[in-house]
């Protein structure tokens, strides 16, 4: 099923960024034919449930505003929960507080400056954004990227996936008052940030990517250190995860909370682990030659528990990938010096920890003429707004955390 991820106008024609069967492509068309097209228009201001057309009303209904500065929400943003008390009837998510206009600021800037801006869109998806942006520019300028660079980027992407998924699972454990599990997971989260630092000189993998290249080639010793640390994380996480899955208190809070079926998820435009938790085995990495042995993790129930299980499965898969890739890595002594001068148009994407990130760029004399950024959090937030309806306030953190969305990612 085609999913609309974005739309931009070029020469008076509407171009749609679509994803189908793990492939991202652009084609001319009419965005309004897709259920989720309204999200593309409103995403700088708010995100809502695109599958529900009716405006809920009633004398006793009020707007339980959660945010913009509230404990429990890590970023500035508002969840407008419409309720008559405890039962959530409808949700509107205000993203405007986090709207910085980074994509607009990319226009007319140098591609290297724009690369830095892409990292700033969402700090914890820094490598995903910079990789997708770099790929778009590389496609536009027809820059050939070496296999070593692609492999190093893939390791960085998987390191990012590991720490993001650890964080999400830790937040879910915290919400269920599983403090011991949460603390251990936060410990692993810290370990994974330290691993990132060794690999890239940045805890959040920033300033690692360059157009057609990477800015740091880790030494053999560093790669060995990364591999050992990843092995340690794997050992600890597998025990923690096994124990957590035997805790009825924890599982009960997640099971059947905010359930989404595959059709709804695809109509919303959901990608990433949240889509795979609905039984759709779609992952952009499966079509990436850097991932020859990737096993796509998925689940059937589409609830918060499934989303957590898919993320846990992906942690194991990413840990395995990082170790194997480092073991097999045989870096060439020479690196290419890509020519990043020129003009062109290109699209680049990558599978971020929460779904597909797509950049479409138009470059003119090494400056960005136009850019369109599609982020997974927009669709993730709409999925939250849809699946949370009928749940109660106490389910709220389980729903929100399980989708792993970010206001900064949605609002840019």
């Amino acid at each position: 099923m085609k999913k609309l991820l974005g739309a931009y106008r070029q020469n008076g024609e509407e171009h749609l960024i679509l994803q189908e069967n793990g492939k991202v492509f652009v084609q001319e068309g009419n965005a309004s034919e897709f259920e989720n097209s309204v999200l593309l228009e409103s995403r700088n201001e708010y995100v809502k449930d695109v599958l529900s057309k009716e405006e809920i009303s009633g004398n006793d209904i009020f707007d339980f505003r959660y945010g913009p500065v509230t404990s429990g929400i890590g970023e500035a943003g508002i969840f407008h929960l419409y309720t008559y008390g405890e039962r959530i009837l409808s949700v509107k998510i205000d993203t405007s507080y986090k709207r910085r206009g980074l994509d607009e600021r990319m226009i007319n800037s140098d591609i290297n400056d724009a690369l830095k801006l892409s990292e700033e869109i969402c700090g914890n998806f820094a490598i995903s954004h910079s990789t997708a942006f770099s790929r778009a520019v590389e496609n536009a300028l027809k820059i050939k990227v070496t296999r070593d660079v692609e492999l190093l980027r893939s390791i960085a992407l998987e390191l990012e996936r590991i720490y993001n998924h650890l964080y999400v699972i830790s937040r879910l454990a915290q919400a269920a008052s599983q403090q011991v599990l949460a603390s251990h997971l936060m410990g692993l989260f810290e370990d994974s940030l330290v691993t990132n630092k060794i690999f890239s000189d940045s805890r959040y993998l920033m300033n690692f990517n360059a157009i057609g290249d990477v800015l740091k080639i880790p030494s053999r010793k560093e790669l060995k250190d990364v591999s050992d640390r990843v092995k340690k994380i794997e050992n600890i996480f597998s025990k923690l995860y096994e124990n957590s899955m035997s805790s009825g208190n924890y599982i009960d809070r997640l099971h059947l909370t905010a359930t989404l079926d595959a059709k709804e998820a695809e109509l919303i435009g959901l990608t990433g682990p949240s889509l795979r938790a609905c039984g759709v085995k779609e992952d952009l990495r499966a079509y990436d030659e850097m991932y020859p042995e990737i096993e796509i993790t998925s689940d059937e129930e589409g609830d918060s528990l499934s989303r957590m299980e898919v993320r846990a499965g992906e942690i194991f898969e990413s840990l395995k990938f990082v170790r194997k890739t480092i073991d097999d890595l045989n870096l060439a002594d020479e690196t290419t010096s890509p020519n990043s001068i020129g003009s062109g148009e290109g699209i680049g994407w990558c599978e971020s920890p929460s779904g597909t990130i797509v950049y479409h760029v138009e470059i003119e004399n090494s400056k960005i003429k136009d850019v369109y950024v599609s982020t997974p959090s927009v669709f993730g937030m709409s999925a939250i707004a849809h699946s949370i309806v009928g749940n109660i306030f106490t389910d709220f953190p389980f729903v929100v955390e399980s989708f792993g969305v970010n206001f900064s990612d949605a609002a840019r």
Binding site: D60, F62, E86
Partner: protein, 623 residues
């Protein structure tokens, strides 16, 4: 007797001056002061009027003894303050209203001073009929008024049967010094329970209290239901104090308290919540009266006596506090023109500080906040129930435990509902709605008087116990001088001193108060905010949302349904007891329709047959 006659005169003047509403209500106020004086006079020395012999065995007289003096004293406080309140409040209603008001006061007064069943039932019926007319003063309240009348007449008919039984037993209708059998006690109990609004005879009370003008709501909720308690105390003195009655009273009382509190917690209507609170309070009153009777039948004189004074303190607390609550919310309702808790937010700023403080004081009293009188009533209730282990019978003990559990739950739920009422109305954020300017001097005056009574009678409660003739429960211990310590038994079981509790807490509170006052000038006041920005009107947590969690947890009991109609969403909560009456009404309609189509279908022979059958049935029934 002179006070009684003066009272009659002023009530009559009140009726005659009805076209001058203020004058008429002033007459009612003065007329209500004399029963108070009569009560004070009769508290220690009984007095009666001359006997008027209607015909043999039907001797009419009025008077005041110790029992009626206590009830008269309590009722007259409400009558006086409600009448005073009505001087301004009554201007919002018709010129007929003062006639009904004075007549209803007269009827209730007659009930409390009646020495015979005929006078009693006359007063009873006068109070019922004129209360019905008072409810009708509110537009579109016919259904509720009719329901009140229907239950009122059930009460009257039950009472007639009871008194007929009394006459057959004694060949006299005297209600002092007579003897009554179990039929008398049972029928009279049904009659009085209906008037008190005890479950399942409470449904009339909710509609009537919430629809009636607020002075009438106060009138119906406090003094009129007090008549029921008085009636029970009277008939128990006539029929002895059988154990079975006590057990039933504890069970019905306990359940009624729980049910009333449960429904109050879910109430959305500004006056529905206090109405259900009346069901709860009267339930507690009935339960403690039952406990007193069981203790009496088990020869536990001290416990019986303690339970009886508990009943009286609860009655006093309910009468004064509920009058205050209805008057204060009534003023807010009238000024803002709204009748839901949610829409009467911000009484403090929108309507005035006096009604807001009055709502707060009454809410705190119903939540058993020391030293208010409601605190003492609830403490005594629990103390009395805790002593039920002394009952020799296992049935009695189990009944008391059952009642105790329900009452304890009721107390918790009452605090929950009072937080809702006071939190949203008196202390809630003003939603910016302009209050209508209405003359309110006497309204505020009566609220101040009752507020002071609620506070001061709590603080000086030992003197009240002594005045009511229960000085044996006063003592001194642990540095608390006699008579400021209230004990629940001899030998001592539990003690409390509202007076010294207040002094100690008050003294401890003085330091933070002084600190607060010192810092007051430096306090910067800003708009309430949530999440970094000011709350908008549609973002305030609503009163129904406050109780939704409870409604959801107890959804089977509440018959709670979350309704979806189009894009509308709302929560429906029902008092399931009303379903029984709805079913009864429907069944009656079906039977009536069947009879009208079959027996009364225009065929003369079948109609004559129907008439004869009914005549024969009635003949045997009356015989």
């Amino acid at each position: 007797m002179i006070y009684i006659y003066f009272s009659f005169i002023f009530f009559a003047l009140g009726v005659l001056t009805t076209f001058y509403r203020k004058v008429s209500y002033i007459m009612a106020t003065i007329g209500s002061a004399f029963p108070f004086l009569a009560a004070v006079a009769g508290m220690h020395t009984s007095f009666t009027s001359n006997v008027f012999v209607l015909f043999n065995g039907f001797n009419l007289s009025v008077g005041v003894d110790h029992t009626s003096a206590i009830f008269l004293l309590i009722a007259s406080i409400s009558w006086f303050t409600i009448s005073l309140y009505s001087i301004d409040y009554g201007m919002n209603y018709s010129k007929k209203m003062p006639v009904f008001f004075n007549a209803a006061l007269f009827g209730m007064f007659l009930v409390l001073i009646a020495r015979d069943a005929l006078t009693f039932i006359s007063g009873w019926e006068i109070a019922t009929v004129f209360s019905y007319l008072l409810i009708m003063e509110h537009k579109h309240s016919f259904k509720e008024a009719f329901e009140f009348l229907a239950f009122g007449e059930i009460s009257t008919v039950s009472l007639l049967v009871a008194f007929a039984s009394l006459y057959l037993e004694n060949h006299s209708l005297a209600i002092v010094g007579s003897h009554g059998n179990w039929i008398f006690l049972l029928m009279a109990t049904i009659a009085f329970m209906a008037k008190m609004g005890i479950y399942p005879l409470h449904t009339w009370l909710i509609g009537a209290h919430s629809r009636a003008p607020s002075n009438v709501s106060a009138f119906l909720s406090a003094p009129l239901t007090l008549m029921g308690v008085y009636g029970l105390v009277r008939v128990l003195s006539i029929a002895g104090q059988p154990e079975w009655w006590g057990v039933l009273a504890m069970i019905f009382g306990g359940f009624s308290a729980f049910w009333g509190a449960l429904q109050a917690a879910a109430a959305k209507g500004l006056k529905i919540l206090p109405a259900y609170s009346t069901v709860e309070n009267n339930g507690m009153i009935l339960a403690t009266l039952g406990l007193s009777v069981v203790a009496y039948s088990a020869n536990l004189a001290v416990l019986s006596s303690f339970a009886m004074i508990t009943t009286l303190i609860l009655l006093f607390a309910h009468n004064t506090t509920k009058s205050l609550l209805f008057m204060a919310v009534g003023q807010a309702k009238e000024a803002l023109g709204e009748d839901t808790i949610d829409n009467v937010r911000g009484v403090w700023t929108a309507v005035g500080k006096i009604p807001a403080i009055s709502i707060l004081i009454s809410g705190l009293s119903f939540s058993a906040f020391p030293p208010l009188i409601g605190f003492l009533g609830e403490w005594m209730t629990l103390e009395a129930l805790f002593q039920s282990y002394k009952f020799p019978s296992i049935l009695d003990r189990l009944s008391a435990v059952f009642a105790g559990i329900l009452i304890a739950l009721a107390m918790g739920l009452a605090a929950f509902s009072m937080v809702k009422l006071t939190g949203y109305t008196a202390l809630g954020y003003d939603h910016g709605k302009k209050a209508r300017t209405i003359p309110s001097f006497t309204m505020r005056l009566s609220e101040i008087i009752l507020s002071l009574i609620v506070v001061l009678t709590g603080f000086f409660s030992p003197y009240m116990l002594k005045y009511f003739g229960y000085g044996t429960f006063l003592s001194g211990l642990f540095g608390v001088p006699k008579p400021f310590l209230i004990v629940s038994s001899h030998p001592v079981f539990g003690v409390v001193s509202p007076t010294f509790l207040t002094i100690v807490i008050g003294t401890l509170f003085l330091f933070p108060l002084a600190f607060y006052l010192q810092k007051l000038r430096k306090v910067k006041r800003v708009s309430a905010w949530n999440g970094g920005i000011a709350l908008k009107e549609k973002e305030y947590f609503t009163a129904p949302a406050y109780s939704f969690t409870l409604e959801y947890i107890m959804r089977k009991v509440y018959s709670m349904k979350e309704i979806k109609v189009g894009n509308k969403r709302y929560v429906s909560v029902k008092d399931v007891t009303t379903l029984f009456y709805s079913g009864l009404k429907r069944a009656t309609e079906i039977v009536a329709k069947f009879l009208s189509l079959t027996l009364m279908n225009g065929h003369i022979y079948s109609y004559v047959l129907y008439t004869m059958i009914m005549f024969i049935l009635l003949f045997f029934l009356i015989k």
